[in-house]
Subunit: 341 residues, 2 copies
Amino acid sequence: MKLATLPNDTADGSLVVVSRDLTRAVTASAVSPSLRAAIDDWTSASGPLRALSDELNAGRATGDFAFAPEIARAPLPRAWQWLDGSVYEIHLDLATRAYGLPNPSYEHPLMYQGMSHRFLSGRDDVPLPSEEDGIDFEGEFGIITDFVPAGTTAAEAEPHIILLTQLNDWSLRVPGRAEMSRGYGWIWAKPACSVAPIVLTPDELGDAWSNARIHLDLAIHVNGAQFGRANGREMRFGFDELVAHAAYSRDLCAGTIIGSGTVANADYKIVGSSCIAERRGIEILDHATSQTPFLTFGDRVQMAARDKDGQAPFGVMDQRVVPMRRAAKPAPIRSARAARS
Amino acid sequence: MKLATLPNDTADGSLVVVSRDLTRAVTASAVSPSLRAAIDDWTSASGPLRALSDELNAGRATGDFAFAPEIARAPLPRAWQWLDGSVYEIHLDLATRAYGLPNPSYEHPLMYQGMSHRFLSGRDDVPLPSEEDGIDFEGEFGIITDFVPAGTTAAEAEPHIILLTQLNDWSLRVPGRAEMSRGYGWIWAKPACSVAPIVLTPDELGDAWSNARIHLDLAIHVNGAQFGRANGREMRFGFDELVAHAAYSRDLCAGTIIGSGTVANADYKIVGSSCIAERRGIEILDHATSQTPFLTFGDRVQMAARDKDGQAPFGVMDQRVVPMRRAAKPAPIRSARAARS
């Protein structure tokens, strides 16, 4: 089944079930008010949600309405935990060779903890403080877990992967290099990520979900020109292994999102890259200097995984980078008394 | 005022106002169901909470009851964001000299993003996977913010510091060194932190809250023997600067917790250390080899900030390190339908 989140007067938005072709939806409020709540109670919620999905796809749902992915919020506008891997081997090899980064041992996957209190939708403008920061995107796939006990092994992990997602891990490369050198991971370099409008259960992808990897091309366009179309399959560690890695010394709460890191393929000369830094690294290796600039305000980035039929199962992300303005405090969302989750 | 969280049938627990001497409490459920909800709506909630506090401290509260800090949960059993600095200069200097860590430039504070979906109480056992991991504690002070817009400066930051806290950032040093060398920060090395039972508004500390620093001794005992009693005052960057640093490219959600990193003083030969790694580093510098072992299962760590009168305004933390057992899924907390926050 496919799920999305529509805006309402809550911080988490309202849950809808979306038809396979993304043109129709039906509210899931009788099951769960939000995707976050549904994931918290997935054992109870997933069956009724699947029944709604079956009815919708059979044209038998009552109260269904026309849906367009661009009206959706991020599926989880906020989450308790966001852990991002970096496990495409060629991407790491290129970074090691071009930028002199430490060569990963591959004994364990690379993974950092990112900010999770806000995720942008696939249509939100992306506010950033400065064009001098080396503004970049990272096209990624991801998964969402139910509760995962600490100590869960990779062999035990796959049933905990309840939903698949696609996202853009916006990155600021100039502060990012400095932060990485300090060993503490990233604060400045990793503002809010954007998430594609549709999340889906693994069965929706058929053979394209295999070996705990998403075997889809991730088509990326910058200002209308194709930038990359790497396939998700070449992860050195599968999402099952990423879950197990994350759960070494902690339980993973329900609704933990884990990312793949920048999607990349060994035939990058043909398929291109999923971030500017990688392309610039290839240019350095080939020509001793990088040519492709980082983004400037007004630049537009589109991302959509494509299946064999050219469809975009996660919907299409289409965003512009804009100068950050000081945000006002968000409007109060319900009263504190009602906020009992 | 002083606040705490008692267990109930919700993930966030129930909010109580605690008397200055920590012996009495009164429910704040008429104001906010939980501390998390109160912080989300601090402009509305703080006045009525302060009124309750004034009544309680004047002996005029209705429905007050005997309170003991050891029955409390972590004030925020979960939070959307936990950012931990490391800004005690002598601590960093010792680490640089003893372990060959990179010398921080001090242009910006060191800060990493940590797991925030679970905080242990100051009395919970601390389950960890292996004694081989170099089990250590880190005694810290921290602050909790309301909503902080991205781009907030240090000069603007102090009014956003609404509550002060004391915590123990449990750390696994063996995986920690390996993770730090990769530049991505810590996953394995940073399991759930523990938090002292009482959070308090800055005015509660009088002169001991000054220059956006907590000027209290943090007394730490390991298996009953004093380990350290460093004062919080010697932060190279104050909490105002830590807030501004964190908010460079992101808004901070209400309820963001920011830590100081391991409290340390220049006269460490007298006051001792707030983590084992620092003491081992001093031993290496003095004797070329470290003598103090890391913790083993069953070891007990107590922490309490002490004011001039010897009182512990945040309460006393007293915990044992125990072997991790595979956690069962937590019992469902309310129905998904009720969870609308």
